[in-house]
């Protein structure tokens, strides 16, 4: 396969308070890494959104992606009742090149459900804003299942799918909810993870991600590049699916 256009849905920036072997910080460093791996565009979040403060972390993301053509930001969300998300949330997303949301219910100590998010999440669903839920960063399977029961049309990207194959958790969701997608960085770690998923659901439901800088980007890229899939399927996973989702966001 000659040309593959990579859009990476799972890049984390910033230094962890607990220290890290691998961190990328400034825009230059991130763009340099994307060049090295041949990644055209990346959806980024900041570790401070999780470890320090959702709003301050959101500010760091905003500064990072503002006016960047190759970076798009994810914001972290808190329960609307405490007012910490600020006013005109969706307008500010648009102004600041933010196109997706992340939720960290364990770390931020709230329940991710209709009782807490009510109409806010109805808006997120109606605006087709991708909601990134990471198993690694504390979103549990019962929470994901219950949330989708309450918001079945939610555009949802399940990220960092365990280091051991999780098809028994993920496949029922992909088969029940039409706008659930699987991020590939750890799906690719599982032998045959991409191949089996595509065989079951088609290539439209998997979205490429690397988990960089925490994980080796070449690993996820090479698993996709050499998977026994057609070029068309690879291109959908590599970038077309994410491109389509981001283009569909109404802010």
């Amino acid at each position: 396969m000659k040309e593959i256009k990579l859009w990476d849905a799972n890049v984390r920036v910033g230094r962890s308070l607990a220290g890290a072997r691998a961190a990328v910080t400034g825009v230059d460093e991130i763009l340099k890494a994307l060049d090295h791996y041949g990644i055209e565009k990346a959806l980024v979040w900041h570790i401070a959104q999780f470890e320090y403060s959702a709003s301050e972390g959101n500010r760091l993301v905003r500064q990072l992606v503002k006016n960047q053509k190759r970076l798009v930001g994810c914001w972290a969300v808190l329960p609307p009742t405490t007012g910490e998300n600020g006013e005109y949330f969706f307008d500010r997303m648009k102004e600041n090149n933010i196109a997706a949301l992340r939720f960290f219910p364990e770390q931020h100590r709230y329940l991710l459900r209709r009782r807490v998010f009510g109409e806010f999440l109805d808006q997120v669903v109606a605006r087709r804003i991708p909601v990134l839920l990471s198993v690694k960063w504390g979103v549990t399977w019962p929470v994901i299942y219950d949330l989708l029961e309450e918001y079945p049309e939610m555009t949802c990207l399940l990220c960092d799918l365990g280091i051991w194959g999780l098809n028994r958790y993920t496949w029922p969701l992909v088969s029940s909810f039409p706008r659930v997608y699987l991020e590939s960085s750890l799906l690719s770690l599982s032998d045959g993870g991409l191949e089996a998923t595509v065989k079951q659901f088609g290539a439209g439901r998997v979205i490429f991600g690397t988990g960089f800088p925490e994980r080796y980007a070449d690993a996820a890229i090479l698993d996709l590049l050499h998977a026994p899939l057609t070029d068309e399927e690879k291109n959908l996973i590599a970038g077309e699916n994410l491109k389509r989702l981001l283009a569909g966001v109404k802010l």
């Binding site: 072997r21 691998a22 340099k32 890494a33 090295h36 280091i163 051991w164 194959g165 098809n167 028994r168 750890l186 690719s188 770690l189 599982s190 032998d191 045959g192 993870g193 191949e195 089996a196 960089f212 800088p213 925490e214 994980r215 080796y216 980007a217 070449d218 690993a219 996820a220 890229i221 090479l222 698993d223 590049l225 050499h226 998977a227 026994p228």
Partner: protein
Amino acid sequence: MKRKSLLREEFYKQGYLSDTPVYDLHGHMGPVAGIHLPFCEPEAMVQRMKTSGVRKLVFSHHAALMAPDIGNRASQESVERYPDFLRAYLAFNPHYPGVFHRETDGWETGKKFFVGLKLLSDYHRVCLSDERYRLAWEFADSLRLPVLLHTWGGSGYDGPEQVRLVAGRYQQCQILLGHSCHGDWQEAMALVKDFPHVYLELCAVLDERGILEEMVRRVGSERIIFGTDFPWFSYPYYIGAVLDADIEDQDRVRILSGNALRLIPSLKD
């Protein structure tokens, strides 16, 4: 930012390395309770090895580890079918030493199939240094066999303290630290520094960027063995991680290929 790697370029182009046959010293086979493994039968596994340029896999069938009623026969049957691609570890469950006697009594025939031992203490819930393992350790030591251990940081069964005890006691065998005492990387590296017959092994290590670089710096690439838990983990992913690491190509060749052959020369057959 990164040094150039010809091996990386080659793998990007074709999905295998022409002059560096890969030897994987940590594999399994067959279904397993906690995971849907879509391609876990020997036919599919061998096909996938070929595609990624993996010359041989040394494995222990999940049945040999998890189902004493089936045992090592499952491993042996697959090696018989695919002798060009597979060798097995004889799994030893300390709760059933009788099974082991039966298998090791036939070692002269067994050694065509089995190249070492596999101990899974965390799962069998017996400490590596426990008296019940003595039989296995003495057997491996007397034949100078490689012993692949499941090792995990913080485990009282097969964490670094337990490894240190048995590494001191049994010095003729070669001890492969499966998963490199996962999480307790510093202790695993200290063990390799302290004992010339102890090696790091990369299964479940490569999903975190930067540890391999640290290992190469501290203990040298000669002491690092490539392993994947295949068919759990993907070859393009795992080989890709080694190719992405900020180390030299000569380190990669040792890790993917040379070290395994030095440990088990018969894998070349």
